[in-house]
Each structure stands twice: as structure tokens, then as C-alpha cells.
């Protein structure tokens, strides 16, 4: 684990408030995740990899854009680990950098359809841009 990764792992733990050591590695979070199949790294792997400091792989993971924030993993974790918070913290590590926005305003018009609620666009901006 590089020094940068170690720093980032600490920051991720701090801003998410998640202690990955609480995990007992039961895999319930990944068992319940509705976006599991769209993910390369799954919720339980986020917990394990943050603990081990394997942050670079997570930063490049497509899972951070796929988490639905449905909180099923948070609700059902027997150890109160809250993996969703960890995934959000990793995503913030990415988009808080200058010019690293995953979704840009210019992309919006082509995504619109007449029924799409504002809520979807606002949510996506909150999740994907800073």
C-alpha cells in the first residue's frame, strides 16, 4: 500500500464514519445489493479493500457509479458497518478533484425525456459532480 493510499484510506474512513474492522465478513451486503451484477468490486470488497488500503483499485472501480444508494446494505448489515457510506466516500475521493466530474451539464440535454423528473437529474448531479 502506497503512502497516498494509506492517507486516502484514512480519509475515507474519517468522512464516511465507517470502521471496516467491525466487518465479520459474512457477505450479507453483497448478498442483498440490487446493483451487484453491474459492479466490479462489490460492497463487501469495498469494506475489505479499504481496510487493507487498496484504494487505487477502488477509485478506478465502476461500482462507485453504480451504487444505487438504496441503503439495503446499511439496513441489513448485522455488524452496523454501513458499506454504502464507504462507497460514497470513495466516490467523493474521485469527484472532489478539479475537473473530475463524472457527469457534466452539457451531457444532460441528450439524457432528457419528457417525463424524466428533476429529482433524477439533481440526484445524479449530487452523486456524480462537485
Amino acid at each position: 500500500m502506497s503512502f497516498e493510499e494509506k492517507e486516502m484510506a484514512e480519509n475515507i474512513k474519517r468522512i464516511s464514519g465507517v470502521n471496516p474492522r467491525k466487518c465479520m465478513k459474512c457477505g450479507k451486503c453483497s448478498g442483498t445489493c440490487p446493483a451487484y451484477e453491474e459492479m466490479d468490486y462489490h460492497p463487501h470488497e469495498f469494506v475489505a479493500m479499504v481496510e487493507k488500503g487498496r484504494i487505487d483499485e477502488l477509485l478506478a472501480s465502476k461500482s462507485i457509479w453504480t451504487c444505487l444508494s438504496c441503503f439495503a446494505c446499511v439496513e441489513r448489515c448485522p455488524r452496523s458497518v454501513e458499506p454504502a457510506k464507504l462507497i460514497e466516500a470513495v466516490r467523493l475521493e474521485v469527484i472532489r478533484a478539479q475537473g473530475a466530474n463524472h457527469l457534466k451539464a452539457v451531457q444532460i440535454p441528450e439524457l432528457l425525456d419528457e417525463k424524466l423528473p428533476q429529482q433524477a437529474i439533481v440526484s445524479a448531479f449530487r452523486k456524480y459532480s462537485k
Binding site: 468522512i15 453491474e38 444505487l68 439495503a72 439496513e75 457510506k85 428533476q118 429529482q119 433524477a120
Partner: protein, 264 residues
């Protein structure tokens, strides 16, 4: 009883039905919804990171406005309810966030989470009462088989939202019973509809929405009701294959109370 009311952006644009039927039904039930002046967008998603302060401010402004009016804050959209309720919980339980928010907003009286946030369905259950509601229904929706779709936002995390049993909720089924229809309990009623993923990965959103609508169809539901504009959109637009009409619960409420046509 009068509530401070927070409609949210979507209810002013794409989800006008959710809003106006709620208002006419509330009027028929003798509940006053006083819309907050100058409310701002809640942000639509709850910022989970502990160091996200600015993104929580608009929710706090709404909460503070309701406090200053001395009323409970009524919400309707699931996402707004989720964000405002969770930010309020932060203001009660997280000293760091509370201090920083108050330092930033500098209100005359610091805000410490005093406002009670109530969803419209909770209002129906706890203020009006489903038994009373059943009595007020003039046109019961007899013979209708309605599936409730809760989604994620109202229920989870259960320890903060305190809305209903997060794994086996009943409030919407009770509501459906109160308006004279038959509730159909469906699989996946508290699993994600695909949410904002419709923008990023429409295929995923379609898969999620289709699972829910299929479950409703195979259970023999003629209608799905929801409280969330995004759920409504996903289930309505993104589901492929068999379709079941997806309506806001307020529309059925207005119909049962006989105030739908007056509105339309």
C-alpha cells in the same frame, strides 16, 4: 391541524399530480398544508459523508422555517422526506455537523433538530387515522387490486427514518384498505426501482423496474401506487414487458374522497 408543507422541485414540475391531489385531499380531510415561503431544493440525495455541510444547508433552512412557524414539517416526495429527515437526525445527533451548520447559517436561534418531519402518509395514519379516513371516503375504490411500492427512501435506514417496519411495512397497504380497495402485497416492494441510475445505466434501471412491475402483474394487481416521482418514472417508463399503471397514492386518495374531478 396545520402543517408547514415542503413540496420540493419535482412536485412543481413533472409530478404536479402528486402535489395537487394531496392538497385537495388534505382540504377535504380538514388538514391545512401551508407551503413554506421560499423553500429551496433539498438536494434529492442525502449526503452521507460526515464532512458534507453545504449540501445539507437547504434542508436545514426548511426545517428552521417550520420551527419558526411553530409547526411540524409535512413532506410528500419520498426523496425530500428522506433527505430532510436524515439531515434533521444529523442536527440532533452529530455535534460536529450541528455546530458547523449553525456557524454557517448564523440563525437568531441556533437550530438543533427540534422540527418534527412528517410524511403525508404518516399524517394520514397518525393525525387523521386510517379508520377515520375510511369513514370520510365517499367513493370507495371497490374491486380495485392495488399494489403498494415503497421503494427505499421512506423506509431505510429504519433506525433514522422510523417510518414503518423497513422489511415488512404495512402503512400503504393500510391506506389502500382505507380507501376501499384491496391491497396486493408484492415481492420487491421495498427493493430499489433503479433510482437515478436511469441516467447512468438505463439497462440496470430497466432491470430493476421490470422486476417490480412483473411481480405486481403476476400478483394480479391492476395498479401500483407510489409516493416518489422517481419511482413512478422508473416503474412507468423503464419497465419493459407487461405494464401496470403506476399512480401516485394521492391521486387515488383524491378519487376516493370524491375530490379528484373537482380538481381536474
Amino acid at each position: 391541524m396545520t402543517f408547514s408543507y415542503y413540496p420540493g422541485c419535482t412536485l412543481k414540475t413533472k409530478a404536479k399530480d402528486l402535489d395537487r391531489y394531496a392538497r385537495s385531499a388534505a382540504a377535504a380531510l380538514g388538514v391545512e398544508m401551508a407551503e413554506l415561503p421560499e423553500w429551496q431544493c433539498c438536494g434529492a440525495v442525502y449526503p452521507q459523508a460526515k464532512d458534507e455541510i453545504a449540501t445539507k444547508l437547504s434542508a436545514v433552512r426548511a426545517l428552521m422555517a417550520a420551527r419558526d412557524e411553530g409547526r411540524e414539517l409535512l413532506t410528500l416526495c419520498s426523496a425530500c422526506h428522506h433527505v430532510i429527515k436524515r439531515v434533521n437526525h444529523d442536527m440532533v445527533s452529530d455535534e460536529n455537523i450541528r455546530t458547523k451548520v449553525n456557524n454557517y447559517l448564523k440563525p437568531e436561534v441556533p437550530y438543533t433538530g427540534e422540527t418534527k418531519v412528517i410524511h403525508y402518509l404518516e399524517m394520514l395514519r397518525d393525525t387523521v387515522g386510517f379508520d377515520e379516513l375510511a369513514k370520510r371516503v365517499t367513493r370507495p375504490l371497490k374491486g380495485r387490486r392495488i399494489a403498494a411500492y415503497y421503494g427505499c427512501m421512506l423506509l431505510r435506514p429504519g433506525n433514522v427514518m422510523g417510518f414503518d417496519d423497513p422489511e415488512n411495512p404495512r402503512i400503504m397497504e393500510d391506506f389502500i384498505r382505507a380507501i376501499g380497495a384491496e391491497p396486493v402485497v408484492i415481492a420487491y416492494r421495498n427493493e430499489c426501482c433503479g433510482g437515478y441510475m436511469t441516467l447512468e445505466n438505463r439497462a440496470l434501471a430497466q432491470k430493476k423496474a421490470t422486476t417490480v412491475v412483473d411481480a405486481a402483474a403476476s400478483a394480479g394487481a391492476d395498479t401500483i401506487v407510489t409516493a416518489c416521482p422517481l419511482c413512478q418514472y422508473n416503474l412507468d417508463v423503464n419497465a419493459v414487458g407487461e405494464r401496470v399503471p403506476v399512480l401516485y397514492f394521492t391521486e387515488l386518495l383524491a378519487e376516493a374522497l370524491g375530490v379528484k374531478e373537482a380538481e381536474a
